[in-house]
Symmetry: C2
Subunit: 494 residues, 2 copies
């Protein structure tokens, strides 16, 4: 056994334990008895302690010091890169700070939920100030020894390794004006009709299973359950998703399912050789989101696929107020004004994200005080969406991310959309008759292409390289913008 073999054996066991911790989270959201909360809290803390001890174990540092990249093949080098990054990240943050952060964010989540329910930002502010102070302290610790000393970039690495705020700002800077213009045109045009009536929730779940299969979700390596929030959980051989139903909005269930199938398919299709290694999971949040979004939007909300879906929905639900496939395509893609990111459409979604990206950079840089956040939010919202936020629960208190300390996470949503735009362009070039299959509910040409050109590699390449390799060109925001303008121009008639 070489040092590398020892390290990989240790890492494999750590990955297996992390997988168990992930399953515990799935269990809590789906099947756990209501009265088990306190005990489950201790169980989570116990396994997190085990994981933290392994991830900061000095033996890992010794192994890393003893291994030379030159002795390894590309897979070995990629594994080593992930382990080095993780070990450096985890050993840079003092245990005391990690513990203070865990406590503060746990407390903050409860205070935030109450403050949001009561539209009371003042109630949340002191707690949130504490979270921000600790996150800035963490960012300072993480940025030690980094090539760039930027606090925000240090946090961004947790979600998008190799990403930088400067690159994102440039990309998003090009995205924003064309999106604002597009939103403006759309909201000035005639609105297509939405669906009407109620939709049996068991039938929705049955259709969700059918649609998941249509998108290649492998039920031998996963399952679908209902939960309050849709999510995908796990890697490798056990990748479970959840969805939810609304009696009046069948698209909530269906498109949440397709979105999560995108995440899950990525995890299910990674090369078996990477199982329980650092390469055996999606490489970044941005790349992950590119899979969920291309499944959901460029494929799932396409004219071709919605044509098939219209028939399946008519079979299951009868008449729901939509006359034909074209009207259904428009109904699926309706753009309506609204304050809430998670209820947003393809066009406005990125405007929600860009707003958060700019504000959170200011917060972490120390240029925006917590007390000034609601007004900064509302001013920016009015500039981009043309309306004034009516209450703070529709403004800066709407998302759980900041209260639990997730700074640097938001931009990966839009980065994922940009990457989905690039992948979609490459896919259309590689499979010119894609729509023929989609119109019959057959996504296999698309999902096979994504599997072969991206998903199978897992964490082998860095995030941006993963997209570049799949597309064969340098990723940019242009394909997404071109796609959105063409699609919504067609629907809204401009």
């Amino acid at each position: 056994m070489t040092a590398f073999d020892d390290l990989m054996a240790f890492e494999r066991e750590t990955q297996a334990l992390a997988s168990i911790a992930g399953r515990l989270g799935w269990d809590q959201e789906t099947v756990m008895p209501r009265g088990a909360t306190a005990q489950r809290g201790e169980e989570f803390a116990a396994i997190e302690n085990v994981l933290h001890a392994r991830r900061t174990n000095p033996q890992v540092g010794d192994w890393l010091a003893a291994i030379s990249d030159a002795d390894l093949d590309a897979v070995g080098q990629a594994n080593l890169r992930h382990i080095r990054r993780s070990y450096a990240r985890n050993t840079k943050v003092p245990a005391k700070l990690a513990s203070a952060l865990a406590k503060a964010t746990s407390l903050s989540q409860g205070v935030w939920a109450e403050a949001r329910a009561n539209d009371d930002f003042a109630r949340f502010a002191p707690t949130f100030e504490e979270v921000v102070a600790l996150k800035r302290e963490e960012a300072a610790a993480l940025s030690q020894g980094a090539e760039q000393g930027d606090l925000y970039d240090a946090l961004l690495q947790d979600y998008e390794p190799g990403g930088s705020a400067a690159d994102l700002a440039q990309m998003f800077g090009a995205l924003r004006p064309r999106l604002v213009e597009l939103r403006d045109k759309i909201l000035g045009a005639d609105q297509p009709a939405g669906v009407t009536g109620t939709f049996d929730e068991a039938a929705q779940m049955a259709l969700a299973h059918e649609v998941a299969s249509a998108f290649g979700y492998d039920f031998e390596l996963g399952r679908i359950d209902k939960a309050v929030h849709p999510f995908s959980s796990g890697s490798g051989q056990d990748v479970r998703i959840t969805t939810r139903t609304s009696a009046t909005d069948p698209f909530n269930c269906l498109y949440s399912t397709i979105h999560e199938v995108g995440h899950a398919a990525y995890e299910q299709r990674i090369d078996d050789a990477h199982l329980l290694t650092p390469l055996g999971a999606g490489v970044s949040m941005g790349v992950h989101e590119s899979q969920s979004r291309i499944y959901e939007n460029q494929l799932g909300r396409s004219r071709a696929f919605t044509g098939w879906l219209f028939g399946r929905m008519r079979d299951r639900f009868g008449d729901f107020g939509i006359a034909n496939e074209d009207a259904f395509f428009a109904a699926v893609n309706r753009v309506t004004p609204g304050y809430i990111r998670t209820e947003s459409d393809e066009v406005q979604y990125n405007l929600h994200v860009l707003l958060r990206f700019d504000l959170e950079r200011q917060i972490i840089a120390g240029d925006l005080d917590v007390a000034d956040l609601p007004e900064a939010w509302n001013a920016r919202f009015e500039a981009d969406f043309g309306v004034r936020v009516d209450k703070v629960s529709n403004g800066c208190l709407q998302d759980v991310h900041w209260p639990v300390g997730l700074f640097g996470y938001f931009p990966t949503y839009s980065l994922g959309n940009v990457y989905a735009g690039c992948l979609h362009q490459a896919l259309r070039e590689a499979v010119p008759d894609l729509d023929t299959g989609l119109a019959k509910g057959d996504t296999s040409a698309a999902t096979t292409w994504l599997g072969d050109h991206l998903q199978t590699f897992g964490g082998l390449r860095e995030p941006k390289d993963t997209i570049r390799h799949a597309c064969g060109f340098e990723p940019s925001e242009a394909p997404l913008l071109d796609y959105l303008e063409a699609k919504f121009g067609a629907i809204y008639g401009f």
Copy 2:
């Protein structure tokens, strides 16, 4: 923090991790995707490694050496007793032997399953000889430093701490002749009719939920799912049970459920103060089985409760060939000849167990060679059951226990029945009008008494003391025998 506080904090975290490992087992038997087997195997191995390292951590030995019983209250002393016993047990077995046993028993289970399917004992014998040799080696390691040097007693401690083969042999020696005589009388009498027809399996599950509630199962702290084998899993706030259905035998589902509710109720009702401590779980297999069996048999198969159940089954299933409550009581309690322990009735069940107890003591003592096991089994079976075993899958290959190295486990089944007999006698004395409630499907007088007199204490007292404390008299086999003779005499008319 004293050494005791440190030890208890460490133990609490170990218990939380053990709880996670147990939940992983539940997941595998109920909801895990089929294709996840290999990954799950690595997950199990990883968490078992963590648990083994904690349970043999020399720091525990240091803490134990630094703590004086005299400084602790009764609860502290009981915790210490459990931790001392567990630490001594785990450190006595060399790691190499533990690993060899894990491998041998894992292999053996597969070989056994094939041998049983082909009625081929010769195929199983070499593998089984290896398991027996390793278990004798383990017993020798465990019996070092014990007051009694008996190999079998050393193994028995894993399931019934404080128990001894000599005590059990005396008890079972008194049990056996009266059971043989009772079986003989019953099988010589006229057989009551059984149920006929088929029973909707969804309706069976609905009734199982109703019956579980009737026995006080707390759905806030648990759930019921279907699985291949019925079991109860977990302690404290999250105690889940499984059951199964057979279209032609509704009693399989219903009485498996009641049995598992007995196990689960014990775990759910332990004093919250013991949560995630060594006292927070059932104290032994024998005491655990006393709960499952008194729920299932003395309560669930009583004339009073079956009277209520008959009405509920008629409501759900219509006519199933049983005319009235008395006939239903007889149908539920039918005694029929058979080779298989798990399909057995209250009367013959203990004869199955006593046979195994006697044979496994001889095996571990080195007095019975593996090659001679089938003949020894068949001879004893004929003596106790009056018929010759027709094939080895109906004989010594029927149970998984020995193939996976569970020697010392079987007697706890009969000990549980004996304890259930004692508890039932004490309960009837404490609650003279018990049948009034049972006849209305109300078990609360019984389950409250068991909760207050036994379940709440968890592992506070040693197993036999737990029963003695609840009953107020010295446990013996007499109450069980008196109960069985009276009940089956009434049903079979002698």
